[in-house]
Symmetry: C2
Subunit: 215 residues, 2 copies
């Protein structure tokens, strides 16, 4: 790995609106977590299981980003949690303006924690801050252990990485030690949580980390 890619930005129009979003979140004492991953890495499922685990401990809301459909926000709302869908049309990532436009649809004064599920994409979302306090990537076992080689930017620019679908480890070649070594070579400070949202394995550590973020 020749160099660690770090996303550098000038104070763009997006950054300015993100800063305004951040002020709104801080006024309401809501901690915001931007979740970024490939399509099908398990973003929505992780959020659903996390909402259940945090029930009675933290008041959670969600913003769901997708090119099209209301599929994800409907699933979240079935748990009795406020969720707003953003459809980007063809857009490959959420931006701060899109988030700003729907903030009045969320009961921010009642929330402790707000998940923003970004568009499924391992490349574009990491370049656009939304006003979040914390950035989390998800990398799923079926995607393979070579992803940090090919998509270093996201691994270098998140606070935590959830390694999802570890229940599939018996059926797939995936070198967990080598994968984590690669990730830490790009991002020595990163917190890593191997989890299965199906079996529940590893969920306790991830949930405890969120509880500490929002204590």
């Amino acid at each position: 790995m020749k160099k660690i890619p770090v996303v550098e930005r000038i104070m763009s129009a997006n950054d300015k609106v993100a800063a305004r979003n951040r002020e709104v979140f801080d006024q309401h004492h809501v901690h915001v977590v931007n979740i970024m991953a490939s399509p099908g890495a398990g973003k929505t499922t992780l959020i659903l299981r996390t909402i259940e685990a945090l029930r009675g401990k933290r008041a959670v809301g969600a913003i769901e980003g997708d090119l099209a459909s209301e599929v994800d926000s409907l699933k979240i709302r079935e748990l009795g949690v406020p969720a707003v869908q953003i459809n980007t049309g063809g857009g490959c990532h959420l931006d701060a303006v899109q988030v700003n436009a729907i903030l009045d649809q969320l009961p921010l004064e009642e929330l402790d924690l707000l998940f923003i599920e970004n568009v499924g994409n391992l490349v574009c979302p990491v370049g656009f801050v939304l006003g979040e306090h914390t950035r989390v990537g998800i990398s799923s076992i079926p995607e393979g252990d070579d992803k940090p080689h090919k998509y270093p930017t996201i691994f270098a620019n998140v606070d935590a990485l959830v390694i999802s679908k570890i229940d599939l480890l018996p059926y797939l070649p995936f070198d967990m030690d080598e994968f984590q070594r690669l990730v830490r070579s790009l991002n020595p400070e990163i917190s890593i949580f191997p989890v299965s949202a199906v079996t529940g394995e590893g969920m306790d550590d991830w949930v405890q980390w969120l509880l500490e973020l929002t204590s």
Copy 2:
């Protein structure tokens, strides 16, 4: 599903270079297949197994697109097949100019079939033609059967879809009939190939289709 999204483009700078690439491919009688999918859907593995299946029948080459690393082109070259890596830096898709710039590194006069493995991304690549004759998407079982709802553009704008990793069907919830119905509702003409590059199931139909494309 309210509407079928179709990628419409003006004759952009990219389109003009793509048309030039297409002329070069046609002069050399090379059929070019642009392969697009999420990270970890199994693009490289499908290409590797397909190269082996076509050995002695078609002369194959590959262009490998990634943000970083030479991992994929090295794997292809290990099979004795010419392969050129394009690293996009942070770019979320290949473009025609990048492809044009490396054409002289491929022995086009010797090839029947050239795979272009695009950057792993279900959103951006479909908006940029490269000069290809045929567009193929891959959707893997672990990504889930709801992807056509959320990322309709790619499903609507490819000639064929490979449904990969079907050997994992016993371990994952995936409604194959409903998935294919959704895909065909977006793209009635699409050819669909469920395959496992691990067990070889379904590979014969996919390879036969490629043989007919290049006959």
